[in-house]
Symmetry: C2
C-alpha cells in the first residue's frame, strides 16, 4: 500500500478508536453489557441471537439490538419477532460497522435509553476480515464460526479471531453431516487466541445455549463494577 493510503487508514482507525473509547465509557456508565458479534455471512448470527433474545427476555432482562447489513432489513425483521427493540443499520457497501455508525444510530433511536438496558447486541456485517479493525466500544467481541465453514478459519482469518474475547461455534447439529473435526477446530482457535473460551451451539437443537446464557448473566452482573 502507498504511504498515503497507510496514513489515511491509520487516521481513520485512530478516530474510530477515540469514538469507541467514548462509547465504552457511555456503555459502562449506563450499566449495559455490549457485545459485538462477528462472523462470515451465513454463520448463523441472527438465528443465534433470536434464541438469545427470547431467553433473556423470558428471564426479565432488557435487551436491544443494532444489526448491520449492506442492504435489506431482513435481519431486523427476524429479530424484532423476539419482542425486543431492534434497529437496522444499512452500510450501503461499507464492509463493517464502525463506532461512528453505532453512536449515531443510538443517538437517533427514539424511545431507547441505554440506562434502561441490561444488554446491547451489535450484529456486525457478515465479514471475517474488515470488522476486526473496528472497535465498536463493546465489552465482549464474539467471533462466530459454523461447523460447515471448515476447521481452518481461525488460521486463515487470524486478525478476527485474535481480536475476539469469546468464540462461538454454531450449527453443531450439522457436525456429523459435515465431518467436522472438533479437536482440530478447537486446536486452531487455541493456537490463534490461547485461552479463548469457546461455546459450541446449535440454534436448531438449543445445544450449548444454557451455558452461553449463564455466561451472559454472569458478565452482565459484573458490568457495573468493571
Amino acid at each position: 500500500m502507498s504511504t498515503r493510503i497507510v496514513e489515511l487508514r491509520q487516521g481513520i482507525l485512530k478516530k474510530n478508536d477515540q469514538l469507541a473509547r467514548a462509547l465504552r465509557e457511555r456503555f459502562g456508565a449506563a450499566g449495559v453489557l455490549v457485545l459485538n458479534l462477528v462472523s462470515s455471512p451465513g454463520t448463523g448470527k441472527t438465528s443465534f441471537l433470536e434464541i438469545t433474545l427470547r431467553e433473556l427476555r423470558a428471564q426479565g432482562a432488557r435487551t436491544a439490538v443494532l444489526v448491520g447489513d449492506l442492504e435489506t432489513d431482513n435481519d431486523a425483521r427476524r429479530l424484532a419477532r423476539s419482542g425486543v427493540p431492534v434497529k437496522q443499520v444499512n452500510t450501503h457497501g461499507i464492509c463493517h460497522l464502525d463506532a461512528e455508525m453505532v453512536g449515531r444510530n443510538l443517538d437517533v433511536w427514539e424511545g431507547l435509553a441505554l440506562a434502561d438496558l441490561d444488554y446491547l447486541f451489535i450484529e456486525n456485517v457478515g465479514n471475517l476480515v474488515c470488522p476486526s479493525s473496528y472497535d465498536l466500544g463493546e465489552r465482549i467481541r464474539v467471533a462466530m464460526l459454523s461447523v460447515t465453514e471448515g476447521e481452518d478459519k481461525p488460521l486463515k482469518y487470524p486478525t478476527l479471531f485474535n481480536s475476539a474475547d469469546i468464540a462461538v461455534i454454531t450449527k453443531i447439529d450439522l457436525a456429523a453431516a459435515c465431518e467436522f473435526n472438533r479437536e482440530l477446530a478447537l486446536g486452531n482457535l487455541e493456537a490463534i487466541r490461547p485461552g479463548i473460551r469457546v461455546f459450541e451451539t446449535s440454534a436448531k437443537t438449543g445445544a450449548g445455549m444454557e451455558e452461553w446464557l449463564r455466561f451472559l448473566t454472569s458478565q452482565q452482573a459484573g458490568t457495573m463494577q468493571s
Copy 2:
C-alpha cells in the same frame, strides 16, 4: 465517507480497472480462460476447485490456480494435490485480491507461461463484500453460495452477486439437513442478477459437476474468438 476518502477510493479503483483491462487483453491474447471465484469464507471454493482441477486434468486440459488468503498456504497445498501449478497469494490483512497482485504474481511465477494454459482459476479471499469492486481481468466472475448460508445472501450482498457472471450453489448434499429453500434462493439470485446461470453442486457427491465442466469446456472453446 469524507470527500478525501471517496476520491482516494475512486483513484484506487480506477487504477485497478486499468491494470485489469491490461490483464484481460493479456489473457485473451494467450487464449487462457480466467475465472475469479468469490464467496464467503467456508462456502467450499477450494473443495469445488479440487474436483474441477482433477476433472479438467483428466480431460487433458492445462490449468493453473492463484489462490488468495490473508494468511496460510493451506489452500495452495490442498489444490497442489490435484497435480496442477498453484500459487498462494497472502494478502496479510487485505480483504480482497486486486489486479496488481494478480499481475505481479503471474510475473514472478517461474516456469508458468500463460500461452501454455487453457484455464487460470483465481480463488479470491473469502469475503462477500470487498472483492466485488476489484476486477482481476477475469472473463467469468463466479459468485458462490452454500446451502448452509441462508437463501437471502444475494439480497444482503447485492454488489457481489450483481457483478457476477455465474452463480454456483455448493454443498447441496446438506440441503435437507439445512432445510434449504431452493426456490427462494434461486428467486433471490434472479432478483439481483436477472438471467444469471446457476449451477447446483456438491463436492461430496459430485452432483452438478458434469454440467459445470461442460460449461467450462464450451467457454474455453470460445476464448480465442472473444
